[in-house]
């Protein structure tokens, strides 16, 4: 390809790749936090009292309506004002995590609601407590139904780590921009990171779809 300068990749490739480390930390941290709190939100929305489920919905909707960049800057520059200063990496994880939480709670909630109500009644009729109902009937089915949505959210979180550029986290994209400024070539580093994001996203999707097939059960959302 004529626009890509192989020499730039040879010389600066390792520097760009050194950003993978932070990208991985932000992705896993943000997605993990999103899953933990997203599950709690979804559970509250489905099984909580009227007030707590309203509060959960309000949290979810407000977080979904703020652009991630704004959220990240608010956390990084705003929290110190109230006496809580976070490092750039911590701020980025928190922002990505909150955003991911809002989306994951929505994914998990619709998965929980997709379980036929009759099964819940059947579990209660056997004498299960609410906790037993949740762990043996709801969670295993909801997770299977939610997997495609969760994988999709994981890849979105991965790509959104590039926004941490704005607060100076040295992740993949930031490194690429730095290289671009030094090498006076924007296209090559950007195509290079673009390809890296693509490869990771593609790998994650295909690994998950294999997992998905392995745990598929006839008649449940995860089949076919």
């Amino acid at each position: 390809m004529i626009f890509i300068n192989i020499k730039v990749i040879e010389e600066y490739g390792p520097i760009i790749l050194s950003g993978l480390n932070k990208t991985a930390i932000l992705t896993v941290g943000g997605f993990g936090m999103g899953f933990a709190f997203g599950s709690i939100l979804a559970f509250t929305q489905c099984f909580g009292g009227r007030i707590s489920s309203r509060v959960a919905t309000a949290i979810e909707e407000s977080l979904r309506s703020i652009p991630l960049l704004v959220l990240m800057l608010l956390i990084f520059f705003g929290l110190p004002e109230v006496g809580l200063s976070l490092t750039p990496v911590q701020s980025a994880i928190l922002a990505i995590g909150l955003r991911s939480m809002a989306y994951q709670s929505q994914i998990l909630r619709s998965a929980i609601l997709a379980i036929p109500r009759g099964q819940i009644e059947a579990a209660l009729s056997l004498g299960m407590t609410k906790a037993q109902l949740f762990t043996t009937v709801i969670a295993p089915q909801a997770l299977r139904i939610a997997i495609p949505g969760l994988v999709n959210q994981f890849t979105i979180d991965l790509k959104d780590t590039s926004i941490a550029y704005a607060i100076g986290v040295s992740e993949l994209f930031t490194e690429a921009v730095h290289v671009a400024q030094v090498a006076l070539d924007y296209l090559t580093p950007l195509v290079f990171v673009g390809a890296i994001y693509f490869v990771i996203t593609f790998a994650a999707s295909s690994i998950m779809s294999r997992v998905y097939k392995r745990i598929a059960i006839p008649g449940l959302g995860a089949s076919q």
């Binding site: 036929p116 009759g118 099964q119 009644e121 059947a122 579990a123 209660l124 009729s125 056997l126 004498g127 299960m128 407590t129 037993q132 043996t136 009937v137 295993p140 089915q141 299977r144 059960i217 006839p218 008649g219 449940l220």
Partner: protein
Amino acid sequence: MSGEILRVDNLWKSYSETPVLRGVSFEVLRGEVKVIMGPSGSGKSTLLRCINLLVRPDKGRISLEGKEVFPKPYDSIHRIRQKIGFVFQSYNLFLHMTVLDNVRVGLIKVKKLSKEEATKRAMEALRIVGIGPELWNKYPAQLSGGQQQRVAIARAIAMEPTIMLMDEPTSALDPELVGEVLNVIRDLAKQKMTMLIVTHELDFALEVADEIMVLDGGKIVERGKPSEILNNPKHPRTRRFIERLRRRVEHGHR
């Protein structure tokens, strides 16, 4: 062994001001099979759901083996429910579990039996309903409706309930599958399982029921021996209702 298993006294239930049950009273003795019939919307499902507390009644009294279940439960609700088997119209098997797991999950999680003991009991229950080992590792979606309903019955009887409640257990089935499920229930009746069944299968009711109760507008409008109710109903509405059921059977619908 005789004695009273279930007693329902003056039970009332409304959904947002609309009364659905209006003072229902009856009892079921040990080993008895009682059948409830009645037009759609008469409150049959609501009545069964009140008995195992899936729905909270507004007023009245329910007791199980002489111990109060409503309004003041003698034990926690989930422990009381263990004693009441429930079979639903739409089977409601757990879709992510095999046949065997569906039947033993209650024994393991709720009754805290060891896995071996639970498996043994589950296999026994599956044999009773005629589900052979070749189906034990299949998932519900791989079974016919009749097989699913028999697994659901096995799941309930494996818990060794003191009474079984069945809400139209055959009305979601294709006509050719109704017989296999009714046969299982017939066998349970022969084993003197105490049962309260909502069904509109007239011949079946005539054969197994000790008493038929007709529910209409949230009240028991007529009750008695199956032969009396089915052949010589007193209440004009009951007469029309039974005639309608007869016609449906003649036309092959269920």
